[in-house]
């Protein structure tokens, strides 16, 4: 039966339609509730990004201070001059006036004014005086926005440690980069309502959010000590014609870096930003990032291991005939004439390779490696600085006796300078290894301390007794051995020299040395350790005892002066005339010189060509003199 299509049915159908439409309207109200009430806050915050144009107000970057409160880095007020081209009425006249005030060409400024952008920066880092002049011109559409430029009162002092910021004042490298999160403040803003193109809308209210300055950092660095170290590395490089010279001073009882410098360097107020290669080269802090073969300074740790391991005592004797044979391989002592019979103290004073080969071999690789690892070798020191290297130690399982013997006197191992001095501090401070650090304290702009460093103990590689024994052995090196040029009158100094040949492509690079001296003072109760490195001294004077030791002594002496250390009554130094030994055999010459009480370093073997100082000059008893010989032609 066919369904009828009555008016009643139409009424019903109309009802269905209106009910359906009403139902759908209600569904849409639900959707509106979701968007406007539930998601309203979220959507508004998202939309706020586009509703406001914000003009940043630069936050001043935190200051960097030394441990005495001297300013190492702060800010100078500068201005950024920018224009809104749309608002500039007479572009030509404005360009003329602006270029005069800013010292730019008229064409350049007019070009900027003609850009189809809402805002164009015309000049950055404009001095306040110049900005005043620009403001005085009263040009429409030209604005001066205040900002800051980093200012380094000491210029090229500590430059590789402080590092620098980019043009936007963000820390790039060094401590400026490492502690950027502390130093950079929070920029403030001027908000105003804007349309899609950033044009300010009518009736817009400007809201102001002030900038918050960055935190001030207090470093463990001391400007006076740093200055002495900067002078020393500069003078040493000049004297020895070296590729570079560098030095670190560390507080032995905390690990705080008191000074760190190398030369060549650069001026933080005049950074060669245009020459990226040069900048990378100059700004690299190789004391932290690079490794070198330490040579004899490393013997300190072999001694420490041997004393701790009980393989040597005061009665032990060693015989050096100029070389030793390990597993069929002959390894020479630096003094090819041999040191003869020595006890441990003599061995350390003479820096006799044979002694340390014997010590390393009698310890065995397990015990030596354990001590070296306990001193932190092969690991980063956790210094608060970018790019630290871990150093290179041969894998323990592949170390053969020949390698072990070499490691014993500082070869076949590579360390960073910061690693070495950190370990030396542990060796002489009673046996505690601290993590080195730069940052002493961070304070908020309101003066609140938000970070304070407390010394971080990383381990106890040796006992206090072994440490004490080491100190006295190392005092012997400066008092009577190869470190004599590091001595400071009236102050007891201990230390060790090191001269290592450089390698290039796995082969010894002839005539290229890294000469170093590591020392500490006052020796009975050490406060500071200093490591001085002369990289590739030119000429024949390349021994650490001759090149690095005197400068390490100078640094320790100036620390003693600035900290007012009491000097013991100075012993009268005895001076003699340098004997004439030219033309003699090297053996004869060394025998004569040592009989007068001088220490000798030799270059070459055979007939003596010359000495430094030359014959007849005044020389203090106990000083190190250089004997240069050539092989006998006959």
């Amino acid at each position: 039966m066919r369904q009828t299509n009555s008016i009643t049915k139409t009424q019903k159908r109309l009802l269905i339609v209106i009910v359906s439409i009403t139902f759908l309207f209600c569904a849409l109200v639900g959707r509106l509730f979701w968007l406007q009430i539930v998601k309203g806050g979220f959507l508004t915050s998202k939309a706020a990004d586009q509703w406001y144009r914000d003009i940043p107000i630069a936050a001043p970057r935190g200051k960097i201070l030394d441990n005495a409160g001297k300013v190492l880095a702060d800010n100078s007020p500068v201005y950024t001059v920018y224009v809104r081209p749309n608002a500039v009425t007479d572009k030509h006249a404005a360009a003329g006036a602006l270029s005069g005030a800013l010292g730019l060409t008229e064409e350049y400024v007019e070009g900027k004014l003609s850009r189809a952008q809402s805002e164009v920066t015309v000049a950055r880092s404009v001095e306040p005086k110049v900005a005043d002049e620009v403001e005085a011109l009263g040009l429409k559409g030209v604005y001066c926005a205040p900002g800051f430029r980093r200012n380094y009162p000491y210029g090229n002092m500590l430059s590789k440690v402080i590092g620098f910021t980019n043009i936007d004042n963000d820390g790039q490298n060094g401590l400026e980069g490492y502690y950027d999160k502390y130093l950079s403040g929070t920029d403030g803003y001027l908000y105003s309502d804007a349309d899609i193109a950033g044009r300010e809308t009518e009736g817009s209210k400007t809201r102001y959010v002030p900038a918050v300055a960055g935190c001030d950092l207090t470093l463990s660095i001391n400007a006076e000590v740093q200055s002495a170290v900067e002078n020393a590395v500069f003078a040493a490089r000049l004297e020895w014609g070296a590729k570079s010279c560098s030095a670190v001073v560390m507080d032995v009882n905390t690990g705080g870096v008191r000074a760190m410098a190398s030369y060549p360097s650069y001026d933080l107020n005049d950074i060669p930003r245009d020459d990226v290669d040069l900048l990378n080269l100059l700004s690299k802090n190789s004391l932290v990032t690079d490794v070198y073969e330490p040579g004899s300074t490393f013997k300190i740790f072999t001694t420490a291991a041997a004393l701790g391991g009980g393989v040597v005592n005061d009665n032990s004797r060693f015989y050096c005939n100029g070389s030793t044979t390990v597993d069929g391989q002959r390894i020479k002592c630096w003094k090819t004439t041999g040191h003869g019979s020595q006890n441990l103290a003599d061995g350390v004073k003479n820096s006799c390779n044979v002694v340390f080969m014997n010590l390393a071999l009698s310890l065995g690789k397990e015990r030596l490696y354990k001590t070296l690892r306990d001193f932190g070798f092969g690991q980063k020191t956790d210094l608060d600085f970018f790019g630290e290297s871990a150093g290179i130690m041969m894998a323990e399982e592949s170390v053969k006796n020949v390698d072990l013997a070499r490691i014993g006197f500082g070869q076949a191992v590579a360390v960073t300078p910061i690693q070495l001095i950190t370990a030396v501090c542990a060796a002489v401070n009673g046996g505690t290894l601290y993590a080195p650090y730069f940052l002493e304290k961070a304070a908020s702009p309101t003066g609140e301390t938000i970070y304070k460093h407390s010394p971080q103990v990383r381990g106890r590689p040796i006992s206090a007794e072994v440490s004490e024994r080491l100190r006295s052995l190392l005092v012997g090196v400066v008092a009577e051995g190869g470190g004599s040029k590091a001595s400071v009158s009236g102050i007891k100094v201990g230390g060790k020299t090191g001269t290592a040949q450089k390698y290039k492509d796995g082969k010894i690079a002839q005539g290229k040395y890294v000469s170093s001296f590591v020392g500490f003072a006052p020796a009975d109760n050490p406060k500071y350790a200093v490591l001085f490195i002369v990289d590739e001294p030119s000429g024949y004077t390349y021994y650490g005892s001759l090149t690095a030791a005197p400068y390490a002594g100078r640094i320790l002496s100036s620390i003693a002066d600035s900290e007012g250390w009491e000097r013991e009554s100075e012993e009268e130094k005895q001076y003699i005339e340098m004997p004439e030994v030219t033309g003699m055999s090297t053996f004869e010459a060394v025998a004569i010189l040592e009989k007068t009480g001088l220490k000798t370093e030799t270059v070459g073997l055979g007939t003596v060509l010359s000495t430094t100082p030359a014959a007849g000059l005044r020389v203090a008893v106990g000083d190190v003199v250089l004997v240069r010989s050539e092989p006998d032609t006959s």
Binding site: Q3, T10, R13, I21, L28, L32, Q36, I37, D195
Partner: protein, 383 residues
């Protein structure tokens, strides 16, 4: 009719129902006035920046409102029953306009679609005329063939004409109006008494067609995904919708106040036309949105009442069809603005800027007033 009207003098109760529907007139005028205000608020910044006159769009809208009111009055005076005879002429004009718009050089191209005819004083959107044209044709057809409406054969002419209009509109292309006409056709068939299982014969192929369109035209697919996750492409497909969300979300419950919309600062495209509801939501909040939706519901309710009281099937279908058209278009517009369906461009009746839409919808209301004027309560009692 005249006969009935003459008699009505004796029955005051009948007299009252056979009058101008004043509440309908009032809600129409209120929506038109609110539309002018909102078009001004939403467009003044854009008009100032791009035309140098903040009243540019408002003046155009005022012109459309005046023309619309004239059309409304004219159509209410005209006896709607004359439209039965004119049904083929009206359908013919609608189809011709839809064809004309497709001819390059005649149809004005905008945003990659030909939808407008430039008549000099007005740009006419052919599909707007066609929507009401189809309501008139369908009402006439269904009233004359009311007994056949329960058979498939009886539905075919309506489906054929509706399908033709849909195809022509789709060629512009204008997906949203196509959808609107298709839904309108379905609703008219429901009112006309078609059996629900017969309607499946339209719904299933239509759904299939939608799927085919989406698959064959990948840009539609992209737009579909944009609606599901506008955050995935905040600067491309999702941009328009996100800007609409920002406006609605910024409005909250009570809105930011008249003229205080931020999204009108060129962030929200089509803020004065297809997306004017977003600006309403921003300036008057959810409360304002609900009031506007209630106004539309009330309008639909009045139209359905006119349909119920109409003196003949044609008047009933005509008013019911107008109610359906307004309901569908408002629903689609708000659903688009709130991201409930894929974004398509369709104006909010009586409020969005656009003269042809205003004139056509006002004319449609006038047509329903004509039905109301000529209704007779006793007709119902007699049947």
């Amino acid at each position: 009719m005249r006969l009935l009207k003459g008699k009505s003098g004796n029955f005051s109760a009948i007299d009252r129902s056979a009058r101008y529907d004043l509440p309908l007139a009032a809600v129409t005028v209120a929506l038109l006035a609110f539309g002018v205000l909102m078009v001004y608020s939403a467009s003044k910044y854009n008009a100032e920046i791009n035309y140098g006159n903040e009243f540019f769009f408002m003046y155009k809208q005022l012109f459309g409102v005046v023309a619309g009111l004239i059309a409304m009055f004219g159509m209410s005076v005209l006896d709607y029953r004359k439209l039965i005879k004119a049904r083929y002429v009206i359908l013919g004009i609608s189809v011709i306009l839809l064809v004309l718009v497709l001819i390059p050089g005649v149809g004005v191209e905008n945003y990659g679609a030909r939808r407008w005819l430039n008549l000099g004083f007005i740009t006419l959107q052919s599909s707007e005329v066609a929507k009401v044209g189809y309501v008139i044709f369908a009402a006439a057809y269904m009233s004359r063939n009311s007994e056949k409406m329960t058979t498939v054969r009886g539905l075919l002419p309506m489906i054929a004409v509706g399908g033709l209009i849909c195809v022509l509109i789709m060629l512009e292309p204008n997906m949203s109006v196509t959808m609107c006409v298709a839904l309108l056709m379905l609703t008219l068939l429901v009112i006309g008494g078609a059996r629900f299982k017969h309607l499946l014969l339209i719904i299933i192929p239509l759904a299939a067609l939608v799927v085919v369109l989406i698959v064959t035209e990948p840009y539609r697919l992209a737009r579909l995904f944009a609606f599901l996750d506008p955050w995935a492409s905040p600067l491309e497909e999702g941009y328009q919708l996100l800007q609409s969300f920002y406006a609605l979300g910024g409005g909250g419950l009570f809105g930011v106040g008249l003229f205080n919309s931020r999204q009108k600062y060129l962030f929200l495209p089509f803020s004065e036309s297809d997306f004017i509801f977003s600006v309403i939501g921003e300036e008057f909040g959810m409360i304002g949105c609900i009031i506007v939706m209630c106004a539309f519901c009330f309008m639909i309710y009045r139209l359905v009442r006119i349909a119920q009281n109409a003196s003949d099937r044609f008047g009933c279908y005509l008013s019911g069809g107008m109610a359906a058209l307004i309901g569908i278009q408002v629903l689609i517009n708000i659903a688009v603005v709130t991201g409930s369906i894929p974004p398509t461009g369709i104006p909010l009746p009586f409020i969005s800027a656009g003269s042809s839409s205003l004139i056509v919808f006002c004319g449609g209301i006038g047509m329903c007033q004509s039905v109301s004027l000529r209704s007779h309560a006793s007709i119902r009692a007699l049947l």
